[in-house]
């Protein structure tokens, strides 16, 4: 197992290098760093040259890439060309916020999705099943920005009409410097959490239901019944145990993907998370910040793909990575 992990990590390094180089080239060449400086008529050409030299902008792309890679390790992604501010503090805060929202949303979606999926499969074609299947279908078809907008509208309306703040519709905290675990914070992240959870819930419950139905009709479940097992044990011990395997993998992958920050959701609710960070810096063509974001996202994807595979090998004895 350890060799498997080691090998996977080893394989991902060249992939990361190649993809980061490609993105770097693209971002660096297409973007227009120092745009602010250049646009400013009071800035002298010498100042511009100075900065160009400082940031190695006058050298080849390979050299710039090398410097950038170095900056990851020595300076924690260095400094934004646009603002001159260090990148890491901003992005690390953003990571924290996104993590909080995504974690809560995923746990919620997973627990509910799995439960609903199991029950829907057991009581196939019942009212419960039809209701939730339709709901999942809807949830799946809804673009997150629409759901987010609807929620925003609804709760803004409630506030305006009844002057009661149930959930906030934007931002992370009411005032500046709010804490991460206050009730105020929860009131703020409730709506984005719901938005993300709904889509993930739709995915998980549909998936779980499908897997359950697949397993329920398999031969070994028939064997379990033929042995005289009570239906409850059949379901829990034989069906669910097998049906959970793909869910574990899917959720790990989902988590990795969501860490890129649910860009649209964060945008609609103006939350200071990864997606928002990315969107802002991209709009400003803030090259190095964007690169930092891309790198972190790439690494997290690799990590979560690995976790998904390990989880799969752990849960399914037929897969052993030796």
């Amino acid at each position: 197992m350890l060799t498997f992990i080691a090998r996977r990590i080893l394989y991902s390094i060249p992939v990361l290098v190649v993809s980061s180089f490609i993105s770097f080239t693209f971002v660096a060449l297409a973007g227009n760093p120092l745009a602010n400086l250049r646009a400013n008529p009071r800035v002298t050409p010498e100042t511009i040259n100075h900065f160009e030299h400082l940031y190695h902008l006058d050298q080849s792309i390979f050299v710039r890439y090398a410097y950038w890679v170095e900056s990851i390790f020595t300076q924690k992604f260095g400094v934004s060309l646009l603002s001159g501010q260090p990148i890491w503090p901003d992005i690390s805060v953003a990571i924290g916020h996104t993590l909080q929202i995504v974690l809560i949303a995923q746990v919620l979606a997973l627990v509910l999705g799995v439960a609903v999926g199991i029950y829907s499969a057991i009581k196939q074609y019942s009212a419960f099943d039809y209701t939730f299947t339709s709901f999942s279908f809807l949830g799946y078809a809804m673009p997150t920005f629409w759901l987010a907008a609807l929620l925003q509208l609804a709760f803004t309306d409630i506030y305006l009409h009844w002057h009661v703040r149930i959930f906030y519709t934007s931002g992370l905290n009411s005032g500046a410097g709010g804490s991460n675990w206050s009730i105020d914070r929860f009131q703020h992240i409730a709506l984005p959490v719901i938005t993300l959870a709904v889509v993930s819930f739709a995915l998980y419950s549909r998936y779980m239901r499908a897997t359950m139905l697949d397993v329920i009709n398999s031969d070994y479940v028939r064997t379990a019944r033929a042995k005289g097992l009570p239906e409850r044990s059949v379901i829990m011990r034989h069906v669910v145990r097998n049906a959970l395997i793909p869910i574990a993998t899917v959720s790990a992958l989902q988590f990795g993907a969501l860490l890129a920050g649910a860009i649209v959701t964060e945008f609609v609710f103006t939350l200071d998370g990864m997606g928002y960070f990315f969107f802002n810096r991209l709009s400003q063509s803030d090259t190095y910040s964007v690169m930092a974001y891309l790198m972190i996202v790439a690494v997290s994807i690799v990590v979560f793909n690995l976790i998904a595979d390990i989880a799969y090998g752990f849960l399914d004895p037929r897969i052993r990575y030796d």
């Binding site: 070994y220 064997t223 005289g228 395997i245 399914d316 004895p317 037929r318």
Partner: protein, 345 residues
């Protein structure tokens, strides 16, 4: 004659599907005597599996429905039992071995656990170590090598033949009085088939259980069974002891089945299949279900109009459901020489 262990009367099972009602089993009746091996033979779709699945309540009731019939096992009607009660019989008094060993075992649970489960469900008070040793003993009985190591392995570490042995072991864990084996060797290689059949024989000797052996392979019937039922389109068309059926079949379907077997001791230029294909169970031919393919019928109206009943052909124990079964008297089947048990392929 001893009292039958299992007595099925007028069992009818149907399934509702989008295309119509499938008449899977249509009014069949038979008995199983204690300790005997009864073979049920027929093509796919003849209803042979459904009749036994219905016994154990393993037919999913929404599409399926037991329309009528009784199945008296040791005095109680299995078909009238509630789910809980029936559960107590399943795996304990009546056990089943299924066709495909590759998919019949849960891939994520150890073999020992799954076998132990069979025991623990019915005897929860048994201490774990006793259960474990019984499981190992069972595996040894069915010929799984190194049972004490194998017991902790997962199904994918067993070969197909070994898995089927494990399945058989699982079924006899609680010494059932009736063992139902539904095409236990169909999914296996011929050489493994022979081994598994040997295991079945051993197991029968050990437990003295009556066995219902469902198969489409007449060779297996010849080797393993005392009596045999021939089913077609959900009905029993012939029944009797193996010797008689093989020597002098009285139903044209049985004749066709026997004729279609290649005989190794003779030269045959062409194989002789039964013309046509099995009938749709939704829209069965009127009257005798076999008449469209029957060489004996020759278009006679009675075959189309009247469903033939099982009547005695030769003595009480040999019965056939054909209006013209008497015309088959004297018809020598390919296997007119007495069949010797154990001389099968």
């Amino acid at each position: 004659m001893a009292d039958p262990l299992l007595s099925i009367r007028d069992l009818t099972v149907e399934f509702r599907t989008d295309d119509g009602i499938v008449h899977a089993v249509d009014g069949i009746s038979y008995d199983v005597l204690p300790g005997e091996t009864l073979g049920i033979v027929g093509e796919s779709g003849s209803g042979k599996s459904v009749s036994t699945l219905a016994l154990l309540g393993l037919i999913p009731q929404p599409p399926g429905r037991i329309v009528s019939g009784t199945a008296t096992f040791k005095g109680t009607d299995l078909l009238k039992m509630g789910k809980q009660e029936l559960r107590r019989f399943r795996g304990d008094e009546v056990a089943m071995v299924f066709q495909d060993p590759m998919t019949s075992l849960n891939p994520v649970l150890r073999i020992g656990f799954q076998l132990g489960e069979a025991i623990k469900t019915h005897y929860p008070k048994e201490p774990d170590d006793k259960v474990k040793s019984r499981v190992v003993e069972l595996l040894r009985l069915v010929g799984v090598p190194n049972p004490d190591i194998r017991v902790n392995q997962y199904p994918h570490e067993f070969s197909g033949g070994m898995r089927q042995r494990a399945m058989i072991a699982m079924s006899i864990a609680n010494s059932p009085s009736l063992l139902i084996a539904d095409e236990p060797t169909t999914a296996l290689d011929v050489t493994i088939q022979a081994q598994v059949l040997e295991v079945l024989k051993t197991v029968q000797e050990e437990t003295r259980a009556a066995t219902i052996l469902i198969t489409h392979d007449l060779g297996i019937v010849a080797e393993m069974c005392d009596r045999v039922l021939v089913m077609y389109a959900g009905r029993i068309v012939e029944s009797g002891d193996v010797q008689t059926i093989f020597r002098s079949p009285r139903h044209p379907y049985t004749v066709g089945l026997l004729d279609s077997l290649p005989k190794l001791t003779e030269d045959e230029e062409w194989l002789r299949p039964i013309p046509g294909s099995p009938p749709s169970l939704i829209n069965r031919p009127s009257g005798c279900a076999f008449h469209p393919r029957c060489f004996l019928s020759q278009g006679r109206m009675r075959c189309r109009d009247e469903v033939p009943e099982l009547h005695s052909a030769e003595g009480q124990s040999h019965r056939a459901a054909c209006h013209f079964s008497d015309e088959l008297i004297g018809h020598a089947s390919k296997f007119s020489e007495p069949v010797e048990a154990g001389s099968g392929s």
